[in-house]
Amino acid sequence: MSKNLIEVENLSIGYYNKGGKLVHVLKNVSLSIKPGETLGLVGESGCGKSTLGQAMMGYLRLGSQVMEGSILFSGKDMFGLSTRDLESIRGNKIALIPQNAGEALTPTMRVGKQIIETLELKTNVSGAATKNRMIELLGQVRLPHPEVMAERYPHELSGGQQQRVVVAMALAGQPDMLVLDEPTTGLDVTTQAHILELLRDIVAELGTAMMYISHDLGVIARVSDRVALMYAGEIVEDASAAEIFKSPAHPYARGLLASIPRLELAGIPNSMPGQPPIPGSLPGCSFTPRCPFATEICSSEPPELKMILQTPHLVRCHNWEKVVATDFSQELKDVYHIVEHKAQDVSAIELSDVEITYHQPNMIDRLRRTPEPPATVSDITLDIKRGETLALVGESGSGKSTIVRTISGLLPAKSGVIQFENCDLTVNVDKRTMDLCKKVQLIFQNPDASLNPRHTVAEIIDQPLKLYFPKMTRDERRARQIELLERVRLDGRYRLRYPGQMSGGEKQRVAIARAFAAEPDVVLCDEVTSALDVSVQAAVLDLLADLQQERNTTYIFIAHDLAVVRAIADRVAVLYQGRLCEVGTVDEIYSPPYHPYTETLMGAVLVPDPDTEPKLLASDTPELAPPAKGCAFQRRCPKFINDLCDEVTPPWQYPQDEDGHKIRCHIPINELLVV
């Protein structure tokens, strides 16, 4: 057994709150990573993952302190080192790849310069060699045209390119270990899959150890040799990736795995009730209130992290034997419940030839008669039935949000018609009647941004009630608020809370209640679950499905997670660069024949199973504008035929009949069937 590169020994980190009380963030955490090994660190938000990652680099957030324990990196105590010693270890022996590379790069410095900085400070490379090495690094992270990229400022790169620059920056110091804090969260599935493959290759080649922090079990399954599961500041399970995904021994691991929507399974999974407590606030096991296996001892006695079976598998649970004895794979299949759909054969919203553009020609353009660039969204024809859920799917820049913005009246369409109950929705919201506004409601991705932090829940829900039901008395509105909160499964007492006093899932429920307060016919959901933990996501999906049934509401659902779409949608429209590629029912979309773009998206999905590899069909090169003619996907298509794709807009092809599944591609259906 080789020596450990880093050893976290019984580490507790905490801070004193305003009342002078000690609040734990990490509690008695012990783990180790060997040279070249990749440890995945998983858990819900607020479990202390990032704190542990930063602590490994000898960094504590302002106000936090080490209560006990230590971190030994190559035998050195990270919290006993001088500032100068820490500065020399960071970037050189241990490097960070942060979440949101766009914010982690200094905006006033060219990206090449930022890599050179690391090279100058952390390596022996000097003089002209520095620049060559920098270009080499940018090439190594597979950035096209490294010389050009090096001269750019961070904001001139796409999210995926920024993330690659940060990877190159971390590799520049040739560290022995990388700490990766959610490095692909917020990126497109395709970009994420490419970056993960890149990381895997580099690590295999250079023998770098990694600690990979993520809330996404699919990502963890793809990169990790070993997985540590964190709950409320403690490690609750630590085992090989294969073991933790195939036969998890902690009820929390089971709960998390069971709450993930699966690409290959229709239906919504069970959600895990509750949320993590403050570390160390419960006398017994922190997971007891949410645990289906809990017994009496669990609420009084904290369990030890102990070795089970022969393999190195650590679990912190009193009842692990009972957990292991329950067949997990069967349990997993049982938890998915299919949503009953009852879409009517009446159109709710009909989009015909809708074209939307952000381009506003200025004076010079008009004088020079510059030809207009291709519209951001073009040629969208969709018929959405009453009571149906239509999902819009595609990478960032595919025009999903643009279409929803237009339907909601935030952005006028350039041409085309959006028919809704004898009204045309292509006009802005200020030109719509109050009744029309009431019928179309929008729920945003991030409840932190969409709920006013200075309003109580009652005030938030009161707004649409006052606006759309002016005849309601105060008491009636009050009764309605409570009724709405109960419909989103929140206690009436939440009326007096502020958004800051609620968890992410609860806030999103309030946002949903606000939308439903208007008694809408159509609800536009823009990535409503992507800011939530998996454990909460399933509950929100469930809630949306139930609310839909009550009033036969129509949903237009934007999501980048294809498994979530599969769980909730009736029909799916796949978009690329603002053009439709494929439209069909969920079953039609999730099985061949695929549009090459749909196939690319499906291939890039990471499933929580270490044995499944993603299929990377097309590059993840971002495109800034749709092509002037031909197929929108021509530049990245893995099945590109010839000039035909470049020149001619592909025809719609119908695998069955003209009302159903349709694919916009030059390749014949029978060839598309071959995956």
């Binding site: 500032t83 500065e87 200094t106």
Partner: protein, 317 residues
């Protein structure tokens, strides 16, 4: 980029034109006119009419404005009625003197303000920051003439280091002016530093908690290098416009200071011109000050454009 600069430039010209109208109307609205002021007690209806005819005050207002505007475009600011000389000639040296004073204050004050601001930001809520901020608030809140008076009391009456007044001949060479204007420079610096310092401090604090500074720290970049290469450039961007405003204020707002120190600058000239109802002179000075104000702001906008890569390349939808 070029379109952007051109648009800013055109906007600046339009602003200047509007200001010239406002100045003209403002002066028109004053009770009495140059002839009244010039003749004073000895005015008779006949002499007034004669003088008004001579000054061209009997033509309608809009025509006088257009004449003035036309002359101005040719570089002729008209004649000072009270001083019986072309306005440009009256302004000439006094303007130079103000520029010397303001430039000296700026050269001392701006770097000082930035250094102190960074220092205060780095030692946030510790005693160096509290001390610097306290002095800055004093500078901001005390009226200029109070600051000037206190400084005169301390430095020239008590310590006898500097002369209390800056009486120099209007056309003295710069070398001879400088030794006499230490106190006005210190007064202006004291007032000016406060505004810039507070802003630099706030921006610095904001930038220091940003993700990229944290990243630089975790990348193992030495602390001083982080401050100067990663934090300062980003903290300076929002400060540029305030520095420009302060500069413009320096040129226009020194009137009181110049009066206190009896310094022959454009500010003092303006106050005298208002007293004399010397309309052409007031208009001339006002339009020059407005021009500088707009010009400095234009330069600041362009500078911000050059220094901020985000503004320079807009990557639209």
């Amino acid at each position: 980029m070029i379109v952007l600069i051109a648009r800013r430039f055109i906007l600046a010209l339009i602003t200047l034109l509007l200001i010239s109208i406002i100045i003209f109307l403002g002066v028109e609205a004053l009770p009495g006119d140059a002839a009244d002021a010039y003749l004073g007690q000895s005015a008779t209806p006949e002499s007034l009419r004669a003088l008004r005819e001579e000054f061209g005050l009997d033509t309608p207002a809009h025509q006088r404005y257009l004449n003035w505007l036309g002359d101005m475009l040719k570089g002729d600011l008209g004649d000072s009625m009270a001083r019986r000389k072309p306005v440009s000639e009256v302004i000439g040296n006094q303007f130079r003197n103000t520029v010397v004073l303001a430039a000296a204050a700026a050269i001392v004050g701006i770097p000082l303000a930035i250094v102190l601001g960074v220092f205060a930001g780095l030692t946030r809520d510790k005693w160096p920051d509290i001390l610097v901020s306290l002095v800055a608030i004093l500078g901001m809140t005390l009226p200029g003439f109070v600051t000037a008076t206190v400084l005169i009391y301390v430095f020239s009456i008590r310590l006898e280091w500097f002369p209390a007044i800056a009486m120099v001949p209007t056309d003295a060479p710069v070398i001879e002016i400088l030794p006499n204007i230490f106190l006005p420079i210190i007064t202006l610096t004291f007032i000016m530093v406060a505004h810039i310092l507070r802003l630099v401090r706030t921006n610095m604090i904001e930038v220091l908690v940003s993700n990229y500074v944290q990243m630089a720290r975790l990348k193992g970049v030495p602390a001083m290098r982080i401050v100067f290469l990663h934090a300062l450039p980003n903290a300076m961007l929002p400060s540029i416009n305030v520095i420009a405003l302060t500069l413009a204020w320096l040129l226009g707002g020194v009137a009181i200071i110049e009066t206190v120190f009896n310094y022959p600058g454009i500010g003092k000239l303006l106050i005298n011109a208002i007293g004399d109802r010397d309309l052409a002179l007031v208009q001339g000075i006002a339009i020059i000050l407005a021009g500088i104000y707009i010009g400095v702001n234009l330069i600041a906008d362009l500078l911000a454009l050059v220094l901020n890569p985000r503004l320079r390349t807009s990557r639209g939808h």
